[in-house]
Structures are given as C-alpha cells and as structure tokens.
Symmetry: C2
Subunit: 320 residues, 2 copies
DNA sequence: CTGAAAGCGCTAACAC
DNA sequence: GTGTTAGCGCTTTCAG
C-alpha cells in the first residue's frame, strides 16, 4: 500500500519495475486517490485560496480564471476568499482559513497584497503566498507589470498628439498601482518636455463615479486640460460621461485614456485608448510560481509580464 | 464526541441544555471541524460546484458571489467548474467532477441549465442540482425571474414614450432568456396596440459586437426604428455605438434599452434604461435551495425573484 | 527498496 | 438523549 502511495506522489525509493507495475494497475483500475483522505492523513491539502477584495470587477474575474487554469493543470483545488479589506479582522479571517481549510498557499490581489500585518502572519504560519501586482516592498513571489513605464508611454502618446495640458486622475490610494501610474504620468510629461502642474492632478478611487466627479473638477478649471489620463478604465468611462454631458466631444474637444483594458474599454463610445495587462495570464503565472514554492520551499519568484498599448478612438489630436 | 457532532450538524436528539453547552464550548475554543475528516467519514463532501460557460461576464461573477454567500453561511465549500459548453464532453467532465471531488450538488447557469444529457446523467448519479434561469423544461430547483413580463413592461415604456417602430435584437439562441425576452417583446407590442413587424426583429448573440452589427442592419432599413430593445446590455452598448457612429444621438434620434443591468449599463453614455435582475441574490437563493435539497432529498424548489425597471437616459420621447 | 502498524478527525451504526 | 465502537482512505513512522 505504501509503495503505491510512493508511486502516486512521485517519491523516491521505488524500483523502476515496481513503479511501472503500479502505474499499469492504476491505469487499468482507473484508480483515483481520495483527496480528503490525502489531506487528512498527510500534511498537504492540495488547496490554494485566492484572497481578494472588491469582488465585482472584471479584473478579478480574469485573474481568478488564470489561477484556476494553473491549479487545474497541477491537480490543485482553488477556493475563493473574498475579504472586506479594512485591515482590522483580515488577519483573523485568514488565520481561520489557513487553520481550517489547511490551504497550502494563497494568491493575493491588490490591495491585500500590501497589508503588512497579513504578510507577516502568513510568514509566521509558514504559508507561502504569491502576489499579483504587489507594491515594491513585498516583491517575493508573484507577477508584475511595468505599470510605470506603461503610464509614461501612454502619456507620451498623448503628448505626441500635440496635447500640452494633460491631466491625471489618480487611483485609489491603497493600491500600489496608483503610485506607479502617477509616477509614470510624471515621467511621461518630463520626457515630452512638459511641465508638471499639480492642479491637473486630481484624486480618484478607481470607480466610475470618482472619475466623473474628478473630470467635472478638471473641466471647471480656468484653463481646463485637453487630455485626461485616468488611472483605470472605469474612471475614464466616468470622464467621458462628464465630458459628453457638457456637450463636448471625445476626442475632438478632450482626449481620454484609461488603464487595464477591461471589457468596458471596448464597449463604450468612443472606444477607449488604454493599456492592456494580460490579466488572466497574470493569475496563471502567479499561481504557478506559488505552486513551485509549495513544492519546494524557497523556489518560485517574481515574473514580469508585458503590457501593450491599445490605441483606440478616445484619443485624438489636440484641438487647435 | 458524537453529541458534539450532532450539535454541529444540526441533528435532532440533543437536549437544549446540552446543545447550548456545546455551542458555548465551540465558541470558547474556536473549534472548527476539519472538512476533510468530515468528508472522509461521512458521505457528504460539504462541497458544491458551480458549473458555467462563458466565464468572463459580470453576470457570472455576481451569481458566483451569491452562491458563495449561501455556501459560506452554511459551512459549505464552493468549487468552480468552468466548462466549454459544446455538449460533447460536458457530461464526461461533470462525471469526473462528481466522482472525484464527490460534490454534494451543483449549481447550473445558462445555457448549461438546459443540456438535457447532462441533466439526465445528474439525475442518474443522484446529484441534486439547482438552476439559475433555466428553460421551462427543467424547472425543479432553482431561481427564476419573470423575464417575459419584464420585457413586455420595458417595451410598454418605449410605447408610452410615443415610439411606434420598436425593434428587437434577439439573444443567443441557446439561452432560454432569448425566447422569453422575444415573447415579452411581442406581448408588449400587442398590449400597446402596435403591430409586430418581423423586419424589426434581428438576430444577436448577447455580445457587444453582435449588437453593433444588428443595429447597423436596422438603421439601414428603409424605415428604421426609433427605438431598439436589445436582449441584453452588452448588445445595447453595441447599438449605442453604431448609432453614435452615424452621427445620430441617443435618445434624441433613437432610444435604446437593454436587459440585465450589468455595470456597463451605468458606465456608458448615455446611461442605459434596462431591467435589473438581482443577480447576486439569485445565485444565493439558488444555492440555498440546493442546500435544502442536499439536506433533505425532495425538498427545495423554484423561487421567483422580482425584477425592476431602471429608467435612465438612453430612452426618451419618439422624434417628431 | 518494501511493507506493517498506527493514526489523521470525523461520522455511521449501534448500544445504552 | 447520549456514548461507544469501528472504520472512511490515505500518509507517516519505523521495522525489515
């Protein structure tokens, strides 16, 4: 019996001959190990959890699918753990999860990626974790995009269209992405030889409504911008709405671009110029690195994936 | 020990006093039963799977959250089973799932709700299932909305605005919803005393692009419609794009309405008049009925949930 | 390299 | 109403 167990778990100390015979029998009998018995007896659960906040976004659905891809390919199960990110009980919740479900590892998505208390506790518990787009500080295992460079590039695109007054709507302050995109904005401006003007940078929080509000503030300026770089697509959609409501036209009067390339980018009119992140692939790669670390502690690392600029109809030449 | 087990599983034959004391101890010790041990010893897995196709929609993400709500509240786990709905290997895939993961039940979403071969096999295996918006034929356990009445009502709204040439873009033929919405369209027309005109009904498949294409066909008609009822929001968004591209305005020249009230409905310009389904609640209720059936075979039923009309800016008076 | 023995934490079946 | 006993199907430990 133990020999069969060894073969199934790819453990050493089985003769080639025995291994072959076991495998033949497994195939013939269509034998499938019982996951619960494995979990109960062993110390692995073959289960990883995906922790996330803000459940209703397309972004997360994509990441989730990627994580699922990776797990299924390695005969792991995935469980979902939506958490309300308010930093109070989050550590306790995760503890319950780890203790009760005995998860072998977790995938973190922003902004949970950057909860220091949680990361510390996970380290203490010895639970490996992979992060999707974490802030600089905990770059250990996971996947990342050079968002700063992407933002600089899209701002460069705006500048190349002749825009000189380019505004930026910031993202939610708890997300690392907001910082990178702002830095990229400034970098893009600098490269194009444009001056950074604080009045053209307004707060947002990644929601449609915040984009709408922020844009109205920008359009009320004595010298309003001719282009707006919103830190994500939802806010860009809100910006377009605010612009249209004033009887202005996108991109004739104001150009707008976003970030993420969620489905909404293609579904609004005019279609949005934005930065595409390979979200599903990111989930897959993060999970794959996590699984490496689960198998062999210390292995797994940070992988960087490429972005692509999606030039569509929401950006055009600066008005004369 | 067994007494504790009884309390935790809400089984009968425990005195109120004992039950209370056990619960107190559970709370004090933060005791959490081990799912694997339960599964191994008992015949239940405390696991339900959600089967779905077409993973990248907001609709599914919402349903998923609802199912998760219900499962968590009853200490069940949920697993995701994305399936490519092409009716060939779907039965085999589900068999593996049921046999290997020993799921106690499954939640079905359209169009998987209506795969007769799958339903038959599930019945044979004795695996209970709940369906979200299934076609008439398998109304056993699940949740449903009176989509037909909703469609009739929204068409009535269009008629009350003075529209007499109201077009309809149909949904994907494999979905029961497409049929109901078409019926509702005809019913709404009839009630308003308007004639049903086959030329004003065009095919779609629930995608943005199909709505765009369909709308162009409608606008090319000798006598184009002044209002379009698209069978879902994505197609309505495509319709708005097609209309805007011709230099026409929504709702001044053409009114547009959709169905579902997904986030895109609020995020496009102008915001979409549509029918809101309580999607998350539907997932929750479907799962709850499933859990009833798991606990007590034969119980659980079909529950109907209310819809609400969301009147927004994409519909207005018929042009003079 | 192989296998026997002893559980993992729970529930089913059956006493009491 | 409550407790006892015997596993569920594996992995661990340790002896051969």
């Amino acid at each position: 019996m133990k020999t069969v167990s060894r073969v199934l778990n790819h453990e050493p100390n089985v003769s080639e001959e025995t291994r072959r015979r076991v495998e033949e029998a497994v195939a013939r009998l269509q034998y499938r190990p019982n996951p619960s018995a494995r979990t109960l007896a062993g110390r692995r659960s073959y289960l990883v959890a995906m922790l996330y906040d803000n459940p209703s976004s397309n972004y997360l659905m994509e990441v989730e699918l990627g994580v699922l891809d990776a797990c299924q390919s390695q005969h792991y199960n995935m469980m979902l753990a939506p958490l309300v990110y308010d930093a109070k009980d989050i550590v306790a919740k995760v503890e319950v999860l780890v203790v009760q479900s005995r998860v072998d590892g977790v995938v973190l998505t922003p902004p949970i990626t950057d909860d220091q208390a949680l990361l510390r506790r996970l380290d203490e518990l010895g639970v490996p974790y992979a992060s999707v787009s974490p802030k600089e500080e905990n770059r250990r295992i996971g996947v990342i995009v050079d968002e700063r460079r992407a933002a600089a590039e899209i701002v460069g695109h705006l500048a190349s269209l002749g825009h000189t007054r380019i505004a930026h709507i910031k993202g939610h302050p708890a997300h690392g992405a907001s910082g990178w995109r702002l830095e990229g904005y400034r970098e893009g401006l600098a490269r194009a030889g444009l001056r950074y003007e604080p009045a053209l940078v307004v707060d947002g929080e990644f929601s449609y409504d915040s984009g709408y509000v922020a844009t109205n503030a920008l359009l009320d300026l004595a010298r309003p911008p001719t282009a707006i770089f919103a830190a994500n697509d939802d806010m860009a959609a809100g910006a377009i709405c605010a612009i249209c409501e004033r009887g202005l036209s996108v991109p004739r009067d104001v150009s707008v671009c976003g970030f993420d390339d969620t489905p909404i980018a293609r579904h609004i009119y005019p279609a949005l110029t934005t930065v595409r992140q390979p979200t599903r692939e990111m989930g897959r790669l993060a999970a794959l690195e996590l699984l490496k670390a689960i198998r062999k502690p210390g292995s797994g690392g940070m992988v960087e994936v490429p972005y692509t600029l999606q030039l569509r109809r929401s950006t055009g030449p600066a008005p004369a």
